[in-house]
């Protein structure tokens, strides 16, 4: 403890400890509560930016096309994500409609846009305007995006309806599957520490 390494406080138990240099892919854990302090992310910014760009493309596709269709008596009824929100709204389930809209469309969209807003200019060596408020918004928004839960929900409802009629998987079903993996990759590679280090260099 005699080094001059910077101090870091565990965000779960507030214990002060010295930062250590991590090997590639290593994770620093709190010496008391075992909570994660930080991890080594080689090329974090570049990877996060690449995953985010891919996720935005898939987000647009996933929200523009039907997720699943139901074939019954020669009739094909399809639903997109926005259509499910609209149906709940029309069925007088406004709070539930709002909940689905916020957790599967609004929050993921805000997360992806904030990522691009912060990461792209930093990659080019500039600090974007309103960096701090956008960063805080990003941190607040992240727990509320639930694309992976939606994916499981769609699969469960498909099994539930499979005995009623023939199910036709839509383009958006595959897009949501890929989007789910990409959002997980964004979350895994995103490193706020590197972000602020780059801001320090760019200023």
């Amino acid at each position: 403890m005699t080094t001059n390494a910077p101090l870091i406080a565990c965000h779960e138990c507030d214990l002060l400890q010295r930062e250590v240099v991590l090997p590639r892919g290593g994770i620093a854990r709190c010496g008391r509560c075992r909570g994660e302090l930080y991890r080594s992310h080689p090329h974090s910014l570049e990877l996060t930016l690449a995953f985010t760009a891919a996720a935005i493309v898939l987000f647009v596709i996933a929200n523009s096309f039907p997720i699943v269709g139901l074939k019954l008596q020669g009739q094909l009824i399809e639903t997109s994500l926005f259509h499910t929100v609209k149906t709940l709204y029309v069925e007088d389930m406004k709070p539930v409609a709002a909940l689905v809209f916020v957790t599967t469309m609004l929050m993921p969209a805000l997360e992806l846009l904030a990522m691009v807003w912060l990461l792209l200019p930093l990659r080019l060596g500039r600090v974007p305007p309103h960096f701090a408020p956008v960063f805080r918004m990003l941190q607040a928004v992240r727990p509320w995006g639930m694309v992976e839960v939606l994916m499981l929900g769609v699969l469960v409802s498909m099994v539930k309806l499979a005995h009623l009629a023939t199910l036709v998987p839509g383009v958006a079903l595959w897009s949501f599957g890929a989007l789910m993996l990409l959002m997980a990759a964004v979350a895994a590679t995103f490193d706020p520490r590197e972000l602020w280090a780059r801001v320090g260099v760019a200023r």
């Binding site: 075992r34 639903t79 709070p95 960063f135 929900g153 099994v159 539930k160």
Partner: protein, 210 residues
């Protein structure tokens, strides 16, 4: 640990929950804005225990209608039928999809229930300044934060089914009031977990060391 643990708060330092920076507030003050990212900081989340209790008790009350009221109403030529969460689990179990019955049972019934029990445990032990099983409790809190979102599963199932089975000769399915109550339980328990300050688990250590 050879010496008494030193926390940021004991040295008068604020750790930013958003960007991680340590900063020192003006002497005598209990809060400040993070000098780097501007987030509003406190040594401990303000009124953490009271706020968590308030959100948690509301969630516990709503858990009752969420399980008793129907999530979906199916009306067809052969009459109408209401489905609660539990009847959905039973349906999958008896129709042979036992793995789906287990997924829904865990995501919709066990996870919210265990989450509320875990938060009660964390709150009571924090209020008693307990030093019992601190590492396990810290782990429990991380688990509560991680699994909470999966309870949204049933809301999405209802949303997709209602949208698909609408304008047809055979049947229409409408969302029931249980869905709104259930959604409220999920959101309230997520807010409750966020309002709880896990650092309260560890604060009794310092008080004993003086």
């Amino acid at each position: 640990m050879t010496s008494a643990p030193v926390t940021a708060a004991s040295l008068g330092l604020l750790a930013c929950h958003a960007c991680g920076l340590l900063s020192r507030p003006a002497p005598g003050s209990h809060d400040a804005d993070c000098p780097r990212c501007g987030a509003h900081l406190h040594f401990r989340k303000p009124d953490s225990i009271a706020r968590t209790w308030a959100l948690l008790i509301t969630a516990i009350i709503l858990y009752i209608p969420a399980n008793l009221l129907p999530m979906m109403r199916t009306s067809s030529l052969f009459g109408s039928q209401s489905d609660t969460i539990m009847s959905g689990v039973v349906y999958f179990w008896t129709s042979g999809s036992w793995y789906l019955a287990l997924i829904i049972f865990f995501a919709s019934i066990m996870v919210p229930l265990l989450k509320m029990i875990a938060l009660v445990l964390l709150l009571v032990t924090a209020q008693l300044h307990s030093r019992w099983q601190q590492e396990q409790r810290a782990c429990l809190y991380r688990l509560v934060e991680f699994v909470g979102r999966w309870s949204m599963l049933d809301i999405y199932v209802v949303a997709v089914i209602v949208a698909l089975v609408q304008v047809q000769g055979l049947a229409t399915i409408q969302p029931g009031p249980g869905a709104a109550a259930f959604g409220a339980v999920v959101v309230l328990t997520m807010f409750a977990a966020m309002a709880f300050d896990p650092r309260l688990i560890w604060d009794p250590v310092e008080k004993v060391h003086g």
